[in-house]
């Protein structure tokens, strides 16, 4: 934590001093996540790109006033979220609060219920009827190949935006659960529900692909 804070202070100092390389680096490192978060609120990738651009311009203008009471990244994402919400309102788009606030309201099984024995089964209620196969015995190339990567990218693209944002931040970008919670303003349990569903769907897509004859 202390190291992160020190890194952050250095980052802020460098950017404030006009260090272009550092600024370009954080634009490169953070914009991907920012696009995913913006897409929770706005309708298209193109609008999300505008939101991210607008955010960075606000960051550049606001840097002299940044007080360092939060991490730079937290501050940038707060500006992003506000910018995206304003844009969504202007678009006349309802912000999908329920998707972030109450994802558990609509149940979504991680695995097709048909793959389990009935709850009333005499001996093995709720046990696997059609169990998963082991992937660690597959040729590594099958999992690491370009086609599998495309399957995974497509599966992520097809997720609801809030699930897509959470799996991107956690599993692509390697953010902690707490960072995601702060950036998306979601509760700990809702963050987990979104992550759970996202991973389950991507798993299913990989399964369908690697097990097709």
């Amino acid at each position: 934590m202390v190291e992160v804070a020190a890194d952050d202070a250095q980052l802020v100092a460098a950017v404030r001093a006009g260090d272009e390389a550092t600024f370009a680096r954080i634009v490169d490192e953070w914009s991907g996540s920012m696009l995913r978060v913006a897409q929770i609120y706005v309708s298209s990738r193109a609008v999300a790109e505008e939101v991210v651009q607008e955010t960075w311009l606000a960051v550049v203008r606001g840097l002299p006033q940044f007080e360092g009471r939060s991490m730079l990244r937290t501050w940038v994402f707060r500006i992003l979220t506000n910018t995206a919400k304003t844009r969504a309102q202007r678009e006349g788009r309802t912000i999908p609060f329920s998707a972030l606030r109450d994802p558990a309201r609509v149940p979504e099984p991680a695995v097709d219920p048909d793959r389990f024995l009935d709850a009333a089964h005499a001996r093995w209620p709720g046990h696997w009827a059609s169990p998963p196969t082991r992937w660690d015995t597959l040729p590594e190339e099958r999992l690491l190949g370009d086609e599998t990567r495309l399957v995974i990218e497509r599966a992520i693209d097809e997720l609801p935006p809030s699930q897509r944002a959470v799996i991107t931040l956690r599993d692509v970008e390697g953010w902690s659960a707490e960072e995601v919670r702060n950036a998306l303003e979601v509760s700990e349990s809702n963050q987990r529900v979104l992550l759970h569903r996202a991973r389950a769907k991507v798993r299913k897509a990989i399964e369908e692909y690697v097990e097709e004859p």
Binding site: G18, F23, G32, A110, W128, P132, E153, E188, A200
Partner: protein, 83 residues
Amino acid sequence: MSTVEALSCQEIVELVTDYLEGALEAEEHARVEQHLAGCTKCDAYLDQIRTTMRLVGRLDAASLPAETRHGLVEAFRSFTPRP
């Protein structure tokens, strides 16, 4: 339902994320571990989820169009003090 009743496989697949996140109560965590130790099918499922996380982690992050990025660096240059 008694607290010592074993979890079914269908329950396990819904607890996997909470389990990996360390978000379960100690007793529930122990029940999941106990199930996984005795169920090769759920163990395979957990392995699939871990592999999924690893494969997702290999993806490239999305990026801004080059001209947008270029414009931002230009804006940065014009807004910040030159040494």
